[in-house]
Symmetry: C2
Subunit: 438 residues, 2 copies
C-alpha cells in the first residue's frame, strides 16, 4: 500500500518553519511496513492545494494531508478536500458545540472564525481532536471502477503534538486495516553507542537477512549513536510484544555493553538509571563543554534525586580555586581526575565526572582541537555525601579523599560545536560503563 504525505503551509515553502512532520510520519509509515515514495510541500493556495492532492492520489492509495485545518481564511485543507471529493462542506453540529464549549470552559468567547473548524466535507469521518480545536478527517473517494479499491485521504493538524497523537490513535490503525495487515504493529528501539552501523549490521548479518517478523532496522542518529529498531506484526498486542521482546533479549545478549538503552531512552537516562540503582549522587566539572553535560542530565525528570550540581571551570583559575586542580597543564588526565574529585567535594556528591580539553578553532597547551581528557572519581564509601553538604570544600575534600578514579584522552573530529557535543556524549557513556561495572 502506497501512502503519500502532503504538508500544507506557505511558511514551510518560505523556510520560516522546517517541515519535521513529514519526516516523523515517514518514519511511522516505514515502521508499519507501508511504502512512502513521495512527500511534498504546498502553500496556502486553493488551486495548487487541489492540484497537489489530485497528483498525489493519482500515484498513491492513501494521502495524509498535514496542516491547513486552522480557523483562519488561509487554512484551506477542508475546502480543497471537498473539491477533490466532489462534495460540499457541511456544518457538523456536534463539532460546533464541542469547539464552543472548549472556549467557554476557559472563560473565553469563541471567535466566529473557529466555527469553520466544525465544517466537514459531506460523508467524511471526523477524527476527534483531543489536544486542540482542529478535528481531523478521514475521507474515502468513490472508486473509479468497481474493481478498484477505495482510495482515502486523511487530514490532520500541522501542530506537531496534535498531529502525532491523531496519527498514532486513528490514522495508522485505519491504514493497517485497509492494508490487510495484522491488527497490531509494534516496535521497540535499542540504542547503541560506540559501534558503527556497518559493524552492528555485520555482527547480526545472518539474523537480519533471515528474519521477516520481527524485522530489524538500523537508524543512524548522528553523535547520539545508532538505533536498532525491532518491529513485529501479530494479531494481538501480547503476541507482538512477545516477538519483539524475544528478539530484543537476543540482541542485548549479542551487543552487550554497546546498548545503552533497551527502550529508546537518551544517554543521560542511562546514566540516571545506573546512579539510582547504586544509590549514588553526581557532580560534574566542565570546561570546553561549558554546561552541556549538566544541562542534559538536568533534562531527566527527577534529576534532583541524584544530581547535586556542576562547576563550569572555563577559566583555569576557577579549576584551581573551586576544584583544587594543581598548577600545571589543565588539558591532562591528571587535571581531569582532580576536577572530578574536586567537584564531588565541592557539591557533596559520591561520584564526580570531569571534562577538560580543546574545542578549537585554535590549539591549546600544544594539543590539537578535539583533544579531550575525561576523568571520573567514585567515593569508596557510598553515603559519604550525606555528611559533606554543610562542611567547607576543604573538609569535604579530605573526607572524600578515599576513592577510585580513572581517565581517558580522546581525539574528537569536527568543528567547535561538534567537538563539544561529541565530548558530552563520550563522557556520559564513559560514566555509564564505569557505573555498570561497579
Amino acid at each position: 500500500m502506497r501512502v503519500e504525505v502532503l504538508a500544507v503551509g506557505t511558511e514551510l515553502l518560505l523556510g520560516q518553519i522546517v517541515d519535521t512532520n513529514s519526516a516523523w510520519i515517514g518514519e511511522q509509515l516505514a515502521t508499519a511496513g507501508l511504502d512512502c515514495l513521495y512527500q511534498a510541500k504546498v502553500g496556502d493556495n486553493h488551486g495548487r492545494l487541489v492540484q497537489a492532492l489530485r497528483d498525489a492520489l493519482s500515484r498513491a492509495d492513501a494521502v495524509i494531508v498535514c496542516g491547513g485545518l486552522g480557523p483562519t481564511p488561509d487554512d484551506l485543507s477542508r475546502e480543497a478536500l471537498a473539491e477533490v471529493l466532489g462534495v460540499t462542506l457541511e456544518l457538523d453540529d456536534e463539532l460546533a458545540v464541542r469547539i464552543e464549549s472548549m472556549f467557554s470552559a476557559r472563560g473565553r468567547v469563541m471567535p466566529m472564525n473557529n466555527l469553520r473548524q466544525a465544517e466537514v466535507p459531506a460523508g467524511a469521518v471526523v477524527i476527534e481532536q483531543r489536544l486542540g480545536t482542529a478535528p481531523g478527517l478521514i475521507c474515502e473517494l468513490a472508486p473509479r471502477s468497481p474493481s478498484d479499491g477505495r482510495k482515502v485521504v486523511y487530514a490532520v493538524p500541522g501542530v506537531p503534538y496534535e498531529m502525532k497523537e491523531m496519527i498514532e490513535r486513528a490514522v495508522l490503525p485505519d491504514l493497517a486495516r485497509r492494508a490487510g495487515e495484522p491488527a497490531v504493529i509494534l516496535s521497540r528501539t535499542l540504542r547503541t553507542w560506540g559501534m558503527t552501523e556497518s559493524g552492528l549490521a555485520e555482527t547480526i548479518a545472518a539474523r537480519v537477512d533471515a528474519q521477516t517478523n520481527p524485522t530489524i532496522a538500523f537508524l543512524a542518529s548522528g553523535i547520539e549513536g545508532i538505533k536498532v529498531r525491532i518491529t513485529a506484526k501479530a494479531p494481538t498486542t501480547d503476541a507482538a510484544r512477545e516477538l519483539v521482546d524475544a528478539a530484543a533479549a537476543q540482541l542485548l545478549d549479542i551487543f552487550g555493553d554497546v546498548v545503552f538503552s533497551a527502550n529508546d531512552e537518551p544517554m543521560e537516562a542511562a546514566v540516571a538509571h545506573e546512579l539510582t540503582r547504586l544509590g549514588l549522587t553526581l557532580g560534574v566539572a566542565e570546561s570546553l563543554t561549558g554546561g552541556l553535560v549538566a544541562s542534559r542530565l538536568v533534562a531527566v525528570a527527577g534529576a534532583s534525586e541524584w544530581f547535586r550540581g556542576a562547576v563550569v571551570a572555563y577559566d583555569s583559575s576557577v579549576k584551581r580555586s573551586i576544584l583544587g586542580v594543581d598548577d600545571g597543564p589543565v588539558v591532562s588526565e591528571a587535571a581531569a581526575v582532580q576536577m572530578a574529585r574536586g567537584v564531588a567535594a565541592a557539591v557533596g556528591s559520591s561520584v564526580g565526572l570531569a571534562l577538560t580539553g580543546v574545542a578549537g578553532p585554535d590549539a591549546a597547551e600544544g594539543h590539537a582541537p578535539g583533544t579531550v581528557c575525561i576523568g571520573w572519581w567514585l567515593a569508596d564509601t557510598v553515603g559519604a555525601d550525606d555528611t559533606a553538604d554543610t562542611a567547607g570544600a576543604a573538609n569535604a575534600r579530605a573526607a572524600l579523599a578515599d576513592g577510585r578514579s580513572g581517565a581517558v584522552t580522546v581525539s574528537l573530529p569536527g568543528d567547535r560545536e561538534r567537538v563539544r557535543q561529541y565530548a558530552t556524549i563520550t563522557a556520559l557513556d564513559l560514566l555509564r560503563r564505569e557505573l555498570r561495572s561497579s
Copy 2:
C-alpha cells in the same frame, strides 16, 4: 520566475534525516524575490526521480535538485538528469583529475566509485565543488517552441554546507540573471526580543506597506524572538548595501532596545559584545536551567576573554555552600541576587548572573511551574576580578562586596524543557539590557 526544489534521498522519506535543505533554499529564493510554490522529496529510485523531475519542470521555470550526487550506485541524480535532458553522461577529464588529486593530496587512493562524480550530462555546465568531491551542475533544457524561455535544472549536493556554498555562489546569481533581476540582492537581519510579531508590524505598518525596495519581512523564530529582514535589490553591491543600511538605521531608531543584534547574531553574542565593550568578565549561577545559560555563552568563539565559569547549584545545599545563599527559600529574588553575587566571588568575575526557579512538572516552595527569579550583580570596581583568582572564595566575596544588583520574577509558559529554554534567553536578555545602560 517559478522555482521548485526536489530533495533526493530515501533516508528523507524514511524520516532518518529531516530535510532542512529545502527550507533553507526556500528562504533564499524568497529573499531573492523568486516564487517557490512547491517542494518535494523523492527516494533513490531512477524511475520515480525522472518522473518527479518531469513533473516539476511541467510547473516551474527552474528546478533545484538537492542530493543524489554522491559516488555510490544509489546516487542517481546525474543519470536521471541525463534521461530528462535526452543526452548521455560523459566523463569530464578535468573533473576526474581534480577528484583524483583531492584523494592523493590526503595520501589516499581514490575508490573507482568516485569517478562517477566526474560524469556529467552532455552540454551541462559544471559548478566547481570547493568543499567536497561532488561537483554541481547547471543543465539547460531545449525550449519546446522558439518563443519559450529555456528552462533550467540545477543539481547540488545534499551535504548542507556544500549545498549552501554552491547555492550562494553559483545558483542564486544564475537565477537572478535569468529572472532579469538587478545583479545584486542583499539582505540584512535585525534580531529582536520582547515584542510580538504583530506589535513590531504595527509599529512600522505605514513604512512596510509603502516600501518596495528594500522590503521588510518578519520571521518568527520561536523563543529566540522575531527576526526583521531587510532586503534590497540594486545594480551594484555598494548601492544595495546603502539601501539596506539606511533602512536598518531607521528601524534601529524606531525599535530601540528591542533589537539585540543588528547583524543576525544570537543573544549570547549580544551579551558578549556588551561585556567586551565594558571590559567586564562574567560568572553564571544556574539551577533549573542546569548549564544551558553557560553552554550558550561558551558557544561564542573567544568566550575565554570574558567568561570565567559557572556553578550549577541544582541541589539547595550547593547554593548555600559554594554560592553563600542564606537559609530560607531558594526560589526568591533575594536568593537570585545572592547567587549572582556568590558566583562572581567564586569564579572571580566582575559580573554575576543567576537563575533559580521551578521547571516543573511539580510546584516547589509553593510556586507554580514556570516561576523563575533572575538576579544580576555588577561590581562597582571594574578590574577587581584581576586580584580574585588566587584568593579563596570567602576573601573574594569580601573584596567584591561593593556592587549594584537587581532581580526580576517571571512566569514562563510551557513544559519543563520549554521553561528551561525560555528562562535561559530571558536571563541573557535581562543582562544585555542591564549592561547596555551601564
